[in-house]
């Protein structure tokens, strides 16, 4: 099994969720994160003092999947989250050793 971690722009969340649902992904865990990268942060102002906000709001999605879905998930995210502008984000893929569903105790692919 694989864990797909995607960092996306917040307002793309709904699009990505729909794209993933369509290809049969049953579960997603989303986290509000702050990203630092090529995309420049912005300058804010408070009482005459400027300050740079380097870390921009992003959403991190974690999706555990069976190996076979990997390419489909990557494609779905790459399409749905793409705006073509810097800061669209990244997808990371790593191995998952085991998955367990807490409610039933099922494990492996059944637990997804």
């Amino acid at each position: 099994m694989k864990l797909i971690t995607a960092i996306i722009k917040p307002f793309k969340l709904d699009d990505v969720r729909e794209a993933l649902s369509e290809i049969g992904v049953a579960g997603i865990t989303a986290t509000e994160v702050k990203g630092f990268g090529r995309q420049k942060g912005h300058t804010e102002l408070y009482r005459g003092a400027e300050y740079v906000v380097d870390f921009l709001p992003k959403i991190k999605l974690e999706i555990a999947i069976d190996d076979g879905l990997q390419q489909g998930v990557i494609d779905a995210i790459t399409q749905a989250a793409n705006t073509g502008k810097i800061g669209d984000g990244k997808i990371f893929v790593s191995d998952l050793f085991e998955v367990i569903r807490i409610r039933t105790g099922e494990s492996g692919a059944e637990a997804l």
Partner: protein, 414 residues
């Protein structure tokens, strides 16, 4: 019949005084919200505690000694001391009638009006020393300030002391209240130092944005409303045509000055920083209000607007300048109440109300007295119990260290 009319006038003036006093009392909430909005979330509970406690201390200290010092009726124009605890005695109907209406309001209503003023002065201090000063050290200072420092200089002007005799003019307290409060704050800030991380080693200013701008805005509106009582009540009487007109003019000019302050500060900030800085607009409103407080009765509304507008410009520059001197004032209290307080005193001469000499004399005396005596008391407190929470407590947030409580336990992110 005539007596009934005198009594009725007395009742009206008293009622007016009480309502105006209630408006000023409401300013305590305004300071609390303004300050709570402009500190970081980890210092919010403590600033709220300070605000409600200082108001309470002011109420008690002024009752047991401050009021008597300030309005002792002593002959001395320097040293008024006379400590009597306030009683519930008041003018009798006979006295009022005998006075032919010269005694025109309840003595207790006067106390009420005055006590909310000292609370205002003390509220100014709390904002400037926010986020790092020990709660109890602050409260000890509040005892001294409200019971002694403020009333003494108040006596010099409003109690009939030497400043009054010198022709110094200060209608509702640009000097007596605002400059005094700001000066005590300045002394505190100097001894206390800036918040950790506020100024970098290489002299850069690090912004520490207030955590809740709607609260800060609410606080400003509260203060604006309260100021109608602050200035409007300082006419002290309303029961005839001339006085009713006077109070009306004070209302109009107070509003005009605040409006001028907002507009000028907003435009100044836009020109200087390129953005419409809300925090400056809020300070602009207060700057306008402080600026008109020394003389809201003589200017035309247009002049009042200009006086306020100049206050609004001054405050922006002052706040930026304070940071140059590493005087860390999270809410801008020293600029708003101190710098614009002096401007307000000077602006009196624009409508011919006093001489520049008398006004500067008053400003210097109030500043010198308050600064020196505050410095002494801050220093004593520093020696005995310390002024500042530990570095660790400040980093983690003064709320946990002093109050053991979070302001927004479910929300805070960073």
């Amino acid at each position: 019949m005539e007596n009934t009319v005198i009594e009725l006038a007395y009742a009206l003036d008293t009622f007016y005084f009480l309502v105006m006093g209630a408006f000023v009392m409401w300013m305590a909430a305004g300071f609390a919200m303004l300050e709570a909005g402009m500190v970081r979330s980890k210092s919010t509970v403590e600033i709220l505690t300070k605000n409600i406690a200082l108001y309470s201390i002011a109420s008690v200290m002024y009752m047991i000694m401050g009021y008597n010092i300030m309005y002792s009726g002593t002959d001395s124009s320097w040293w008024p001391f006379a400590i009597d605890i306030l009683t519930n005695a008041d003018n009798t109907a006979e006295e009022v009638i005998a006075s032919g209406g010269d005694t025109y309001y309840s003595g207790l209503s006067d106390f009420f009006f005055q006590v909310v003023f000292v609370a205002t002065a003390m509220s100014i201090v709390s904002g400037a020393v926010a986020e790092r000063m020990k709660l109890w050290s602050f409260l000890v200072f509040a005892v001294v300030m409200c019971g002694f420092i403020y009333p003494v200089q108040g006596f010099w002007k409003w109690g009939g002391g030497f400043l009054d005799a010198a022709g110094f003019s200060d209608f509702a307290g640009s000097g007596v209240v605002h400059l005094c409060g700001a000066t005590a704050a300045l002394a505190g800030v100097i001894l206390l130092g800036a918040r950790k991380g506020r100024y970098t080693a290489d002299g850069k200013v690090v912004a520490m944005p207030g955590c809740n701008m709607p609260l800060a805005t609410l606080g400003t509106f509260i203060l604006w409303l309260g100021w109608f009582g602050f200035n409007g009540g300082s006419e002290l009487i309303i029961s005839n045509v001339a006085e009713a007109n006077a109070v009306s003019l004070v209302f109009v000019n107070t509003n005009a000055a605040a409006a001028g302050g907002v507009i000028a500060a907003l435009i100044t900030a836009k020109l200087m920083f390129g953005k419409a800085d809300l925090s400056m607009a809020l300070n602009g409103a207060l700057a306008g209000l402080v600026s008109i407080t020394a003389e809201p009765l003589a200017p035309t509304p247009l002049l009042a607007t200009l006086i306020g507008a100049i206050g609004g410009i001054i405050v922006v520059f002052s706040i930026v300048t304070m940071d140059k001197f590493k005087l860390d004032d999270p809410v801008g209290a020293i600029s708003v109440h101190g710098v614009c307080g002096v401007w307000g005193l000077i602006a009196v001469i624009l409508s011919g109300g006093s001489s520049i000499g008398a006004q500067l004399y008053g400003a210097v005396v109030i500043f010198a007295w308050t600064f020196i005596v505050s410095m002494i008391f801050w220093a004593i407190i520093k020696m005995i119990i310390g002024l500042r929470v530990s570095e660790e407590a400040e980093l983690e947030g003064i709320d946990l260290a002093e109050c053991g409580m979070e302001a927004y336990p479910e929300f805070v992110g960073k």
